[in-house]
């Protein structure tokens, strides 16, 4: 049974100062050996991870962007990249509409991850984001 890898895990691996960095490096060894199952992620998560670096990192970003690209698209990617299919978009949008409140709400990308997991029969997600609680088994 696969496990879905969320944006925060990828970012924490590259960011030594991230509060989840140490935990992410510990989890990496278990992800790498497929202890949690076959790792899977999505093109939307790739988008978020790259955008996070380009918008939040101060100073030189090119090297970090290359490293992030390598984690997703390198010869040995961390997880299999699932592309969000156009036919899933109405369900993703409906979930996003349903879960959006005046307060903290999951992003459209979070909703795409939930629907992608449902479509692929994935029950676990490696994430440091509490939005997935109640939808998927959270590994963190």
């Amino acid at each position: 049974m696969p496990i879905f890898l969320d944006t925060g895990f990828y970012f924490a691996l590259l960011a030594n100062k991230d509060s989840h960095h140490t935990q992410a490096t510990k989890l990496l060894k278990r992800v790498a050996s497929w202890e949690f199952g076959r790792p899977v992620t999505s093109d939307f998560v790739f988008d978020e991870a790259m955008t996070l670096i380009s918008t939040q990192v101060k100073g030189e970003k090119e090297n970090l962007l290359r490293k992030m690209k390598n984690l997703f698209l390198g010869e040995e990617p961390l997880g299999h990249l699932v592309c969000i299919e156009p036919v899933w978009l109405p369900e993703i949008a409906d979930l996003h509409i349903k879960l959006t409140t005046p307060g903290p709400s999951p992003s459209f990308t979070d909703c795409s991850s939930i629907i992608a997991c449902q479509k692929q029969g994935i029950e676990k997600i490696l994430s440091f984001d509490w939005h997935f609680e109640g939808f998927l088994n959270l590994i963190h």
Binding site: L13, S107, D129
Partner: protein
Amino acid sequence: MSVVKLPEKGELDKLVANLTLHLGRKVPQQEVLAACIRLASTHIEELEKAFAETKPLSTKRTTEILGMGEDFEYTTKGSIDEDLYGEES
């Protein structure tokens, strides 16, 4: 009865021959195949590894990823959603 084409029929012949040696009697090919399917059904994770487009990472690659971390400065409001989408806290 259904017909399935095998790309490597020789491998099945070898398996049946090997099994014949072990058992001391011949088992029909279709029974061997049926047993293989039953066995594979209980080892789905190994089957998944055989057909997956990705494989478990090598030790070299895992070490390489562990060495990718950098001490860069970045701004954060506490969560990725807040950072990217300006979510209220």
